[in-house]
């Protein structure tokens, strides 16, 4: 009888609480993603201004790639330490692939500005999606 009562109570609690399939909002990650987006935006503004100049050579931009990839890795490690963050991890991994591909293209050299515009637009879409997920997590937290 007692077991039956406990079972009934736990079923009742489950129906009230709902099963959370995704992580809680993490303000540290959100801030870091915003900072990454800002740095990326600055990179493309500079790239447009310095296109064809020695300042925009791959060798002169290695620090940007090192910093961005380090930051994404830091975010990934943080994310792995938090429960139910598989989706965020997948998004960050996708972003990392994008930056690594951008770096490879930069190493080979850009012949036209159009190449950069194409990449910028894809990265902006990715950041929009990542920030959108963060916002929906934040909104759910405040509701």
């Amino acid at each position: 009888m007692r077991i039956f009562f406990i079972l009934l109570l736990s079923l009742n609690l489950n129906s009230c609480v709902g099963v959370r399939l995704i992580q809680e909002y993490d303000s540290v990650s959100d801030n870091k993603i915003n900072a990454l987006q800002e740095r990326t935006s600055k990179f493309f503004v500079k790239a447009d201004r310095q296109f064809g100049l020695p300042e925009f050579s791959y060798q002169k931009q290695v620090d940007f790639y090192d910093d961005i990839q380090t930051d994404i890795n830091v975010l990934l490690v943080r994310s792995r330490a938090i429960q139910k963050t598989r989706i965020s991890q997948e998004q960050l991994s996708a972003l990392l692939i994008q930056f690594k591909s951008l770096e490879e293209l930069h190493k080979k050299g850009f012949k036209t500005r159009e190449e950069l515009y194409i990449i910028q637009s894809a990265l902006e879409n990715s950041f929009t999606a990542i920030l959108q997920l963060q916002m929906s997590l934040k909104n759910r937290n405040t509701n």
Partner: protein, 112 residues
């Protein structure tokens, strides 16, 4: 409306249809953002094909560009809570599959 715009609109329809088949009930929620994302990807793919035609990029460079575009669609699909990783992957493959023949033909390389 130019010829390339018509091709993009036609491809977009096919990609959206393919994505809808996978996402079923969640489609209504995803459609507006997916449409924006896929349209932007198709415009970029067309620009990549143009760069190839002008001899500005190699096959390897085109593959790197396409990888960047692909990951962008992935992050967009993953931003919808409740879709999940497996469905996002299936949707990505279905959408790209719908455009594969035309895009590869346009590029002149089997990259997608």
């Amino acid at each position: 409306m130019g010829k390339s715009t018509m091709v993009i609109e036609d491809l977009l329809k096919q990609m959206l249809e393919a994505a809808k088949t996978v996402l079923k009930t969640q489609w209504k929620l995803v459609k507006p953002m997916a449409e924006l994302q896929l349209r932007s990807t198709l415009i970029n793919l067309e620009l990549i094909a143009e760069l190839k035609l002008k001899g500005k990029i190699s096959k390897e460079q085109a593959a790197l560009h396409i990888e960047i575009q692909k990951q962008s669609i992935r992050t967009t699909l993953l931003s919808f809570e409740g879709i999940g990783i497996v469905a996002a992957e299936k949707t990505l493959n279905a959408a790209l599959g719908a455009a594969r023949t035309v895009v590869n033909k346009g590029l002149g390389w089997k990259i997608i």
